[in-house]
Symmetry: C2
Subunit: 435 residues, 2 copies
């Protein structure tokens, strides 16, 4: 169950939504069983695309940075969900360390940090903010977009524990995606780090996530009796690409051809007449950098210098060598005439809110996570508390329930993915110890 | 943490509220530790009285019947909390049986049942309603105050399991307080019953609850450094009273004198000039029946026939033989000029909403749970998402946080109380088996 939210779509429900609504009890029971086997991530946000004929996650963020874009009315939901999660992580003490991104000039991001702090405080924790900013000599006060004050303090390592001056936390909440690598100050500490360090972009890969998602979608599709493709974008990957040096072009072309072929086949099967497209993006990337829309093999042959430069480097100057070629999913949603896609936020196993990412300068076949994007919080939809709401298809709340289900599938995939990353790391550590 | 709710009080915070707000992290940590030791009730509602100098629970209901009076916007909170609870109770299956009260003519109560069903359905369960109405031959459709349809079905016992026609639930949720005793059809079944059958009014006693609450309040008061009296109403009890036969009057008089004496002492200590009063009520009672306000011993000597009749019988015609004499707590809250008291609803360990019980015909020293009471849902208070809300005393949301804390103390007492009832029953069963 998710809160009832408004959606921008008002047309009739697609088959998938009808099936999901009809099998709600079975689906929730299935999720309950899954969460007994897997550790749910502390928080996740999922970008969805709804093309009417397909509703699928296209990106799963384990360090969500847009809590400031949620409807403020969702705060109690966030707090309850955080209480559930933190009961497992910190049963005995009440001190939490929040480690944010370093970019202190993004005042909206800082507001996200302020909201996260408020959620943790609401759950009954004393929160301090430990910064990874190099050479931070002492506490620094910064002001967020909403005018709130945050004190960033230098991280201090004491033996196997990390904290800030005079503050020994029970756990560390990472809101830094570690694009620049795992910092030494956090390695090998005895406090729990959530998400685990290996979930950062120095070790995580989108392709790994979507490989796991393949299995999750398969199981879910079987449960409700649908073609898994309807909730799962096709994808492929290339491991050795260098856009600057024009290396790996053949691999890219072959995989673009492969993914476009898969889409063509499905479009033919379902009588869909829109032209297929893929999204090529950095396999370890984030922040909407290193992303391009591709409609034919020619689009990746002979890239011009500008595109090659755009694709070659992502956040914190990391070079791109691995890419994922993902089926593009049209978005047929719009807010005030601008192209929109829903972003769903989860804390623990609960959907706690979401917003529309809206872009006035982008098309329905383009990545919207780029400069100029705006955010429209999803609102509570309260009209489903009257008798006529018993699951009438086409009701905005019902549509949003389906969004929550698909986002939770991606959350489940993230859980398994992180488990596998942690296992792999343990195996490497054992091997290193034995070497 | 509780959702931010509006309160009718706008005056300055009393000392207790200031102390609670200042020690939020410590209090939440304390609750976390308590909930690791005790099983939280599935749901509870708590009547509070706030006199400014005292904020205390006066009644704790383990079968709350006013979910229909909550703000509809609270539904997602209820659903999340129910998901938390039901994960423990029914991890594997998705079928739930709801057993309501028998009074089908109270359409508002039926609406409460409809909302409860919606919460369970929202948490992903298939819900059927099993009725204890005697001689119910088959399914009966009833309509609630809001015009929703409910199908009441006769309970069916099959071996050690209970269900309704063609439906074998994983568990039974009681919303029937068992004032008339524990029905044979529910005895000894293998499915979990929540709350346990012994939590019904045939075995439960208010005085037992408040004995346990004494210990909880003691621990809490020590934690935050207050006099436990500030959150705990004094009380005493009489075990052999018969109002019709004028038996037990001496016991009643002596205990009224005792409780009034306790209050007088405390009022003197704190310089409170209002006249002390007590509330005499059935120890196993509910529904606001069998309740009287007493300001002196004379009030319980020579009761007139009308009062004796009123006090002698409660719900379902059960005679009153045991009474609790509880310190009366003035309510200084009012809604639209009428006397009001807050009622706080909890599901699992979470505060999920509340309402004001408002009575235009009652005074500040009277029980408001009586015919003519009205209900004003507490609203979300969203103004605490701006920077100026960092705990400014006197803010309505902060006041409501304190209400949530005190209500959760009563919830904790209820948890321990139910544990003790279950233990006592097991001991009796063992003794019976050995006899």
């Amino acid at each position: 169950m998710v809160p009832h939210l408004t959606t921008s779509l008002t047309g009739p429900l697609h088959e998938i939504e009808r099936l999901v609504l009809a099998q709600r009890a079975g689906i929730e029971g299935w999720f309950r069983a899954q969460w007994q086997e897997h550790v749910v991530p502390f928080y996740t946000s999922v970008d969805l695309r709804n093309s009417g004929f397909k509703l699928a996650p296209v990106d799963t963020n384990l360090f969500p940075g847009g809590f400031n874009n949620l409807n403020p009315e969702f705060l109690p939901l966030c707090v309850h969900a955080a209480m559930s999660a933190l009961q497992r992580i910190c049963p005995d003490t009440s001190r939490f360390l929040l480690v944010p991104e370093n970019h202190t000039r993004n005042l909206h991001y800082l507001q996200n940090v302020a909201v996260l702090r408020r959620i943790l405080e609401g759950a009954g924790f004393t929160v301090r903010i430990g910064s990874l900013i190099p050479d931070l000599a002492g506490p620094v006060e910064v002001e967020t977009a909403a005018g709130e004050k945050l004190t960033l303090e230098p991280l201090q390592r004491r033996g196997n524990r990390v904290g800030v001056e005079g503050f020994d936390p029970c756990a560390v909440l990472l809101n830094n995606d570690l694009s620049g690598g795992i910092p030494a100050v956090l390695r090998g500490i005895e406090q729990p780090v959530v998400p685990p360090l290996v979930a950062g972009w120095s070790t995580r890969r989108k392709s790994h996530h979507f490989h796991v998602y393949d299995r999750v979608a398969e199981g879910f599709a079987k449960l409700i009796g649908i073609d898994p493709w309807v909730v799962n974008p096709a994808f492929s990957q290339c491991g050795k690409v260098n856009f600057t040096e024009k290396e790996g072009e053949d691999c890219l072309a072959a995989n673009v051809e492969f993914v476009l072929g898969e889409i063509r086949e499905k479009y033919a099967q379902y009588g869909i007449t829109e032209p297929p497209f893929c999204i090529v993006k950095a396999d370890a990337g984030t922040y909407g950098m290193g992303i391009m829309t591709v409609k034919s093999v020619d689009d990746v042959r002979n890239l011009n210098r500008k595109t090659r430069n755009k694709m070659s480097v992502i956040k914190e100057g990391q070079p791109v060598h691995e890419v994922i070629i993902q089926e593009g999913v049209y978005t047929f949603e719009s807010v005030d005439g601008a192209v929109a896609e829903p972003v769903i936020y989860m804390v623990d196993q609960f959907v706690v809110g979401g917003f529309y990412r809206v872009h006035t300068e982008r098309g329905i076949d383009e990545n919207l996570n780029s400069p100029g994007a705006q955010y429209a919080p999803l609102a509570f939809e309260t009209n489903c508390h009257t008798p006529d709401c018993g699951g009438k298809p086409g009701d905005p709340p019902n549509r949003f329930y389906t969004y929550g289900v698909i986002a939770r599938l991606a959350n489940l995939a993230a859980a398994v993915e992180v488990e596998e990353l942690v296992e792999r790391e343990s195996a490497l550590e054992v091997r290193a110890a034995n070497a």
